[in-house]
Subunit: 405 residues, 4 copies
C-alpha cells in the first residue's frame, strides 16, 4: 500500500497547477464579464480561447482519455488532475477539452463507435472543434429507472425514427453542440436492460426542436451550453448511427458511468478544497464582535470538519479509480456507487459553510461559492438520486453478507 502519487502524475499536476495560475485564475473575472455582456449567447465567452491554445500547446489536452487518442493516463493518474480542474469549474475543464458531457461522449465513441462514427464525431470532439450532448433524462418519468424511458427508436428500413421528449440535456443549447447521443427504447418488450439503445442524432436533423434552457436555481449555465429541453418528433437518422447493437444502450450507459463518476467526484473535491480556502480566507479577514470570524469556535468546527471530510472523500475516490484500473468497472462497483453517494453530500455541506461565512455575499454573483452551491446540489440527483444508489448498494451488501453467512 502506497499513498504517494506516481512521478508522472506529480509532474502533470505541477504543470497543470502552473497552467491554472497563469491562464485560468487570472481570467475568471473577465470571463464572467464577457458572459454577462452577451446575455443571449449559449457558449463560453471568447476569453477562453487563449487558455485553450495554451493548454493544447502544453499537452494539457484530452487528459481524461486513456490510450493513444488521449493523454494515455490511467484513472488513478487522471483523478488528481481532475481535482485541479474542478477548482475553476467554468473554465479549466473546457480549456483542456476535459469537460462533461463531451468526455463521456468521447469515451463512448472511443470504445463503441464504428470507424465512420469516430471519424465524423470523435475526431472533431478530440480537437475541441465541436461540442456534444447526452440525451437521457425525460421530463415525464423518473428517469433513474431506465425502464421508464419513453423515447422510442424504431427501425424503418435503413433508418431509425425517434420520438420523445428530453430535458436537462446539458450543453445542448450551444449551437456548436453538433451531435447528441440519445438513449431511447428499441424494444420495450425485451428484458429490463436490453430494451434501450443509443443512437447519434445530429443537431440539425429535421424534427429536433430545442425548446428552452432549463434552469438550476436561477442559473442558466449559458457558458456550458445550458440544459436544454428538446422535442424529438419523427426524427430520422441513418441506421448506421446506432452505437453498438440494438439493446446495448444500458450496458453502454453503465460503461460510460464509471469514469464519469470519478471525474464528477474529483471535480467536487477540487470545489471543496477551494471552498475551504475561501472560507478560511474570509473568516480570517472579517471581524465581528471584536475578533476575526476565524476565532469563533463554530467556524473552526466547520473548518476542521471540512478538512476531515475532504481527506476521506478524496481517498475513496482515488481508490475507486485504482479499482477501475486494476479490476475494472465491475470490481469497482461498490466504490463507484459509494463515491456517487458520498461526494455530493459531503461537498454540499462544505460549500454551505463557505457560503455562510461569506454572509449575504455568499449567495451573490461576487463569490464563486454561490454557483458551486447550486452546482453541487444538482449532483444529488444527476445520474440518479442518491436514494436510488443507496438502495442498490445496500441490496448488493445484503446479498453479499447473507450469501457468506
Amino acid at each position: 500500500m502506497d499513498f504517494a502519487l506516481d512521478a508522472r502524475t506529480l509532474e502533470l499536476r505541477e504543470q497543470l497547477t502552473a497552467f491554472m495560475d497563469e491562464h485560468v485564475y487570472p481570467i475568471e473575472a473577465t470571463y464572467q464579464e464577457q458572459l454577462d455582456a452577451a446575455p443571449d449567447v449559449w457558449a463560453p465567452p471568447p476569453i477562453i480561447e487563449p487558455a485553450k491554445e495554451a493548454a493544447r500547446s502544453q499537452g494539457l489536452w484530452n487528459l481524461f482519455l486513456p490510450g493513444e487518442d488521449g493523454a494515455g493516463l490511467t484513472n488513478l493518474q487522471y483523478a488528481p488532475l481532475c481535482e485541479v480542474l474542478g477548482r475553476s469549474l467554468h473554465i479549466a475543464p473546457v480549456a483542456t477539452n476535459c469537460a462533461a458531457p463531451d468526455t463521456g461522449n468521447m469515451e463512448v465513441l472511443h470504445m463503441f463507435g464504428t470507424p465512420e462514427q469516430q471519424e465524423q464525431w470523435l475526431t472533431p470532439l478530440l480537437a475541441g472543434e465541436i461540442r456534444s450532448a447526452f440525451a437521457m433524462t425525460e421530463p415525464r418519468v423518473a428517469s433513474s429507472d431506465a425502464t421508464n424511458i419513453e423515447t422510442s427508436i424504431v427501425r424503418d428500413g435503413d433508418e431509425y425514427v425517434i420520438n420523445g421528449r428530453k430535458w436537462y440535456i446539458s450543453g445542448a443549447m450551444n449551437p456548436n453542440a453538433k451531435v447528441f447521443i440519445l438513449m431511447g427504447k428499441t424494444d420495450p418488450s425485451a428484458d429490463r436492460h436490453r430494451q434501450q439503445s443509443m443512437i447519434l442524432v445530429p443537431r440539425d436533423t429535421p424534427g429536433v426542436e430545442v425548446l428552452r434552457g432549463m434552469k438550476v436555481l436561477g442559473y442558466d449555465d449559458r457558458d456550458h451550453g445550458g440544459h436544454a429541453e428538446i422535442d424529438f418528433t419523427d426524427v430520422r437518422v441513418p441506421a448506421s448511427n446506432l452505437i453498438g447493437e440494438e439493446g446495448a444502450g444500458f450496458a453502454i450507459a453503465q460503461a460510460r458511468l464509471g469514469p464519469g463518476r470519478i471525474h464528477h467526484c474529483m471535480r467536487l473535491v477540487g470545489i471543496a478544497e477551494r471552498s475551504l480556502e475561501l472560507m478560511v480566507e474570509r473568516a480570517a479577514s472579517r471581524v465581528a464582535f471584536g475578533k476575526p470570524l476565524s476565532d469563533q469556535g463554530v467556524i473552526r468546527d466547520w473548518i476542521a470538519e471540512s478538512r476531515v471530510r475532504i481527506e476521506q472523500l478524496r481517498l475513496l475516490t482515488l481508490k475507486a479509480a485504482w479499482l477501475m484500473d486494476t479490476v475494472g468497472n465491475k470490481g469497482a462497483h461498490t466504490e463507484i456507487q459509494a463515491i456517487k453517494i458520498a461526494a455530493p453530500a459531503t461537498v454540499e455541506w462544505i460549500v454551505d459553510k463557505a457560503v455562510q461565512v461569506h454572509g449575504a455575499g455568499g449567495l451573490s454573483q461576487d463569490f464563486p461559492v454561490a454557483e458551486w452551491y447550486a452546482q453541487v446540489r444538482t449532483l444529488r440527483f444527476a445520474d440518479g438520486p442518491d436514494e436510488v444508489h443507496k438502495n442498490a448498494l445496500a441490496r448488493h451488501e445484503i446479498r453479499r453478507m447473507t450469501a457468506r453467512a
Copy 2:
C-alpha cells in the same frame, strides 16, 4: 392553555384562503410569464393589480399593522394569516400590502415617525401607492455586529450628510421604492448601542446611486425590486428626516425586528406546508422501480419528519407572537431568537426534500420549490447569521441559569 384560534382569526383565515384560491393561485403561471417577458422591469408584473384591488375591497389589506391604521390584529391573530400568505410568496404578501420590507418600514413610521414623516411616507405606503427599502447591510463589514456599520450620518446645519455603501437592500431596484430608511452612525464614539441613527432618504436625493442588483444564487428577484447595491456620496437630507432622536437607531431596529421575525417565520411555515404538499403529490404520482415514490421508506421518512418539524415550528412561532402581545418585545426575547434560529434550518430541510423528490425538475423554473430553496437559504443570515443569534441566546441562557444557581 388553549390551542384553538379565536373566532376572528378563523374567519379571516377562511376569507384569506378563499382569496388565495380565487385571486392568487390561479394567476401564478401568468405572473411568471409576464415577469419573464419583461426582463428589465424591477417591479411586480401587471397581473397583480386585480389581486390588489380584490384584497383591498375585501378588507384583506395591511393585515400586519395593529391599531386603527391597519387591520388592528394582534401578532397572534396575524400570524396564522401570514402563514397563508407565505404559500404564494411572490404574490400574496404584495397583493395584501403585507410585503417586507414595507411592513417593517411602516411599523417604524407608525411607532416613531413624526406626523410630517407619517403624512409624507406612511400614508402612501399604507395605500400601496409607493414602496420602500431598508438600508442596513454593508458590503465591507460583518453587519450583524451593528457597531461595525461604517455609513456616516453627519449633522451640518439643518441637514444631515450621509456617506457610505450598502448592499442587499431589498426592493430598492424598483423605481417606485420612493424612500429608504437608512441606518448609519451619528456618533461613532458613543456607547455600542447609541452610535446609530435611522434617517429617511428619498430615492431621488442627489448622491444616491443605485449601482446594481445583487443576486441570490441565480435569482435577481426583480418582481420584489431586487436587492440593490447603493452608493451614498455626500447625500444631504433635512434634519427633520431623522427618525426619533440621534442614537436611537439600534433601539428602533430592535423594535422593528420582533414582529418582522414572526412574519418571516410564519411565511416560512407556509412555504413548508406547501412544500410538503408538493412533495406528497409528486411522490404519489411518480413511479420508479415498480411502485410510486410514496411507497419508498426513505421518502416516507421525509414526509413524517416534515410534519413533525412543521408542527413544532408553528407552535413556537405562535407562542412568540403571543408573548409579544402579552409581555412585549423584551419578554419574548428568547422565543423571538429561537424562531429565528429554528425556522430557516427547519424549512430548508423540508424544501430540500421536496426538491429531491422532484428530481431534476426540483431545481428548475417549473416548480416553486427551487425558488423557495434559494429564498429560505438566505434567511440563515438575513437579520444576522444563525450563529450570532445562537451565541446571544446561549449567553442569555447561561446568565439566567448561573444567576439562579
Copy 3:
C-alpha cells in the same frame, strides 16, 4: 389561543416543585447509595418511603389519573407536572404513584376492568401497595407489528391457558409486582387487529417463570423492578381474568398508548431541562485553555440549540395533550405519533451534549446524565421503533393529502 397554564396547574406545579426541593432532590444521593449497598434487591430502596408518605399526605398522588379515583386532572393539566417528575426520574414518579408501567395498567383497569378486577388489582395499585407489569414484547419476533405476537391465550373451560415468552417486561423483577397484564393471541385467524386479547396473570400463578433481568446498556434498573424475561408455560388463569372481550387487546393497547406517550414525552422534557441546567453549570465552572467552557462557541451552540429544541418539543406535547382532552385519542393521532418521534431524538441529542460537556464523568455513575442517556436511547424503540411510527404517520399524511387533491 392562550399559552398560559391555568390556575390549578400553576398551583400544583408550584406545590410539586416545592415537594421536589424538599423530598426528592435531597435524597438522590442516599437513594443511590442504598441501591448500591443491596445488589440483589429489585425494588426501590427504603429512603423512598418518607417521600411517598409526604406526597400522599400533600395530595400529590395518582396525579396522572383522571376522574374521582385520581387527581382528576386533564391531560393538559397533568403534562406540566409530569415534566417536573421527569427531572428526578428514579424517585419522583414512584414517590407520587405516577410511575410507568403502573400508570398505564391502572388506566386500563380503570377504563376496561370489571368491578372484581378493579377491587382486586386497581385498589392496591392506587394505594401504592403493590406494583404491576405489562407483558407485551417478545424476544423472538418484531413486536412492533402486533400480528407477530406468538404468545397464545387459549380458552379451556372456565380458564385460559397461556403459553409464550416475553422479555423487557419492565418492573417484573420486583417481587411486589403482583400482577401482569399480558397481551397474547386468542384467535390467530381473526382480522389483524382482532387477534389479540389482554389478560391478568397473577405473578404467583404456576407456570410463570421469571428468568432474568434484561439490561439496558450496562444498567439493570433494579430499583424500577428491572426488565424481566419471563416464560409462560401452560399458565392457567380464570376466564374472568380477561380484560374486556376476546379480540379487544389491540384496541385496549391503543387506548393505553395515548396518555402513556404524553407522560413519556413530558418526562423526557423534564430530563432535557435538567440536562441543560447541568450542561450550563458544568460549562460555566470548568476551565480549559484559559477560559470557561461556557465561552467556547461550540458549547454555546449546543446550549442555544437545546433551548430551541426543548421549547418546540414541549409545545407540541402540550398540544397533543390538549387534543386528547378536546377531541380524543383519534383526533390527536398525528400529534401523538409526532411526539413519539420527536421526543426521544430531541432529548437524546441534548443529553448527549450534556454528557460531552462533562467529559469522562459524563458517562460515569457520578452524574445522572449517563443514566438518562441510556434511558432516552431505549425510547427510540420502546412502544415501537421510531421508523414504524414515521411510516404510519407518513401513510396517514399521504392519504389525507391525496384525498384532498
Copy 4:
C-alpha cells in the same frame, strides 16, 4: 499510489482471521459466562488463557510493536490486523498481547525507558505476565488541557513525592496491573509543555490507594481491569523511576498518542464492520409488516451509508499509518487528528443503527452491539474531546492557509 496490502500483511491477516475463527469467536459466550459468574474479579476470565497460548505459539503476539522486541511491523502493516482484533474487542487484543493501555505503555518504555526500567517492566509486559495502567486524567480539571493537571511530582533527595487524584485509569482495578505510568507536574512554572513529567509508580507503593471502579454507562469493564479512581498521597518512588527527563512528559505523551490513535481507530473500524454484519443479518432474518426488515428503505439507507462511511474511514486511517511510517509523527499530525475526530463519530452512527435494527435486544446483554455503543461513545472524549481536536486542527489549517496567501 497503490491500494493493495503487501504480502506480509495479507498473510498475517489470513493467519489472524483463522486464529479468530478457531480461538476467539467460539469462546465469546463462555467468556461472558465466566465473567458473570465471578462478579468481584477484575481480570479476564480463565477461558482466555488457551487463546493466549495459541496466539503466542503462532507468533500472533506483540504485533503492535515495531522492532525486534515485537513483530517488527510498520504501522501500515499492523493497522489491518488491528481492525481484525477490534472485531472481538474483549478477547482478541488481550489474547495477542495487543491490548491498550499496555501497548502504549510498552511503546513508551521501549522508546524512552532506561535499560533498568525496561528489564523490570517491559520484559514482563512483553511476556504478557503483568498488566499496566496509564494515569493521566484527573477528576477535578478538564484534563484535555495538559496545563490543567494538578498532580504534583516533587523531587526530594533521591526520590520523587507524588500527590494527586486520578480517575478513569483503565486497567488499574486489575491487581495484576503492577505498574502505573503517571503524568504529573514537576515544574508548574515552566513553559506550558515543559511542566509535565512521566514517572513509574509500582502499584504496591505506600500512598497509592485504588478507590473504586468508574463506570461507563453502567458497565464496569471488569475483564479489562475497569477504570479506577486512584488517590496518590505522599507516594515516594526512586528518582530513577522518572521516564526520560524532567519536563519531557508532554512530549512523551505526544509520541505515545500517534500509534495509539491508529490502533483505536482501526479497532473501531473492526467494530463497525462487525456491527454492519450483525445489522444486515438481523435485518434479513426479522419480519415485520409482511416483509423482512432488510426490504425497508430506511434500513437499506443505513446499510448503504454504513458501507460508504466505513470505506472512507478505513482509508484515512491507513493513510495516517502510512504517513507515520514515512514522514513521522509530525508529518502525520493533521491525519492523526482527523481520524481521532472522524472515527468515533462515524462508528457511533453505525453502531447506533445496528442497535436500532435489533430493537430492545440491541441494548441488552445478548448482543455485543450494546457494549460497543458504550465503548465507542467514550472515544468521543478519550484522549481529549473531539471539540479540542477540531479546534486544534482548524487552527493549524487557518495558519497554513493564511501563511500561503
